[in-house]
């Protein structure tokens, strides 16, 4: 696995006066799972469809290892894609659905059975897709993505509609695919949905990037919950170090410092701690603030 990089370069898509995607530039590296986050209508799906040659950008280019999708010699063997869970003819069986596209891409028939087993739908593969649940359709969509054993995976909201067991399965699968050196780009409108499985995030809002980097970078600005039996002493120590603390039901909420910094601070001040943890709800707050409804959040 050599590793193929996804590159968006100044990609824009305008529908009339509406800038659905506005000057988007970022890179997705192999070997890690990258989350592509933003609320519904932020331009995620349009961006992915431009990357895949389904929608023509107004300007800019999106490439896989330097080549646009329609120039790839073996598209399904290079990029595996799962877009919505609805691109199926209801009268066709899952096996035949995969055979149709395997034939178009010159992929051997044995691979169809392999991906059906891999995604856990081999037993229902000869039933017509019209009777499938949303979770089974998601798995079939993923089977299509894996058909060509691709170096790059582009998955649009793959967790939507999966049961808890399915969610755990897909998280493990994504991590495993990334560890094999593949490039994995997963979109979602919920940070909490992908929080546990992504290594890097690209967050967009109103068609523009508002954050790109690791989740820890994002957490840097978030809150840490801290408490002590000697609360007065802790507050004094925090104040001396210049941190603002607010009292909450869960403890003292401190912003602008990492958990590690606060732990060291407490040790120096000889204040015993009864609580020290990053505020996960705070991460979601940061995310919502980034993508929030305000027009001015285009940082």
């Amino acid at each position: 696995m050599t590793g193929t990089t996804i590159e968006f370069r100044s990609v824009s898509k305008h529908f009339g006066a509406v800038k659905a995607v506005d000057d988007l530039s970022f890179t997705v590296q192999p070997g890690v799972v990258t989350g592509f986050l933003g609320p519904n209508g932020a331009g995620k799906t349009t961006s992915l469809r431009m990357l895949l040659g389904l929608v023509r950008p107004t300007s800019g280019s999106a490439t896989f290892g330097g080549a646009p999708y329609h120039r790839l010699e073996h598209p399904l063997a290079t990029v595996g894609t799962a877009l919505e869970a609805s691109s199926f003819s209801p009268g066709r069986s899952a096996r035949n659905h995969l055979r149709v596209y395997a034939a178009a891409a010159g992929i051997p028939r044995a691979r169809v059975q392999r991906v059906l087993e891999l995604t856990g739908i081999a037993e229902v593969a000869d039933r017509r897709v019209g009777g499938y649940s949303l979770g089974m359709r998601q798995r079939l969509g993923l089977a299509f993505a894996l058909l060509g054993d691709p170096e790059v995976l582009v998955l649009d909201e793959p967790i939507n509609g999966l049961d808890p067991e399915g969610i755990r399965w897909i998280r493990t699968l994504l991590q495993q695919l990334a560890q094999e050196g593949r490039t994995v780009l997963v979109s979602s409108h919920l940070l909490s949905e992908v929080q546990q499985s992504v290594d890097r995030v690209v967050i967009i809002s109103h068609g523009r990037i508002v954050h790109e980097g690791s989740l820890d970078d994002l957490e840097g600005g978030t809150a840490v919950l801290v408490d002590s039996p000697d609360r007065v002493g802790l507050i004094a120590a925090l104040a001396a170090a210049g941190y603002a603390a607010t009292r909450t039901d869960a403890g003292l909420c401190v912003t602008g410092a990492t958990a590690a910094q606060l732990g060291a601070l407490a040790l120096d001040a000889r204040v015993p701690l009864s609580l020290l943890r990053p505020d996960r709800a705070g991460l979601e707050d940061v995310f919502l603030e980034l993508v929030g409804t305000g027009e001015g959040v285009q940082a």
């Binding site: 389904l54 929608v55 399904l76 003819s89 596209y101 891409a105 010159g106």
Partner: protein
Amino acid sequence: MIAAIRSEALKLTTTRMWWVLALVLLGYVGFIAALLAGLFGALGDQLAAQPDAPQLPPESLPPIIYSTATSIGYVFPLILGTIAVTSEVRYQTLTPTFLAQPGRGRVLTAKLIVLAVAGAVLGLIGLVASMGLGAPILAATGNDPAIDQSETWLLAGRILIAMALWAVIGVGIGSLIQNQIAAIVVVLAFTQFVEPILRFGTSIWEWTATVGKFLPGAASDALVGSSIFTSLGMGTTQVQALEWWQGGLVLFGLAVVVSVLGYLTAWRRDIT
């Protein structure tokens, strides 16, 4: 290209659509052919005795009855071709199709080729119905089924060509009118209602008849060389129908025009 054709052929044969249409075609054409063969075969003597009744020379019976495969059945390949495109739009399967084969012109070409073959197969099924039932009934009523004449088999060959072209036209129409229900309504309304009226209306005067003979259904009948519609009632003017090859060119031209227009609309636009 071979891969794209294999994929399109699999698409067509892995849903029930094509054989449902084939069964209805078989029943419908078979019924009409048997009815006509029985009616004219048995009553030919009595019709001839009545100067007011439409006169059909006995040797014109086999082609009229066998050509019901197209004159009645041409709407079936047309609908099959239309649905082959509109179902992809309806179920958003153009997305995986273009992911597996980003060359969109190649996908359309493959679909046109596969549907042309499928149209010819429907033509074959139509002939099984029209000749399979028509010929024995003609023989049983004391007429010559003309099965041993080369002219009959040339007619059968032209029927296959006509049915193939109709399926190709369907692909173009499906690309132009992407809403499946709208497309089927337009196809049925035009072929079953608008065009028969136009053909009848234009056949009244000389000058309209010279235009009317270029209507697709009329061109199709001209290509085949025989039709129950041209043999009964119509053709009261002196205007000759098109030659078989002219009819074929009109249908082929129509197929090319709608396919190119379809490519410029459905096949090139953004897939969202």
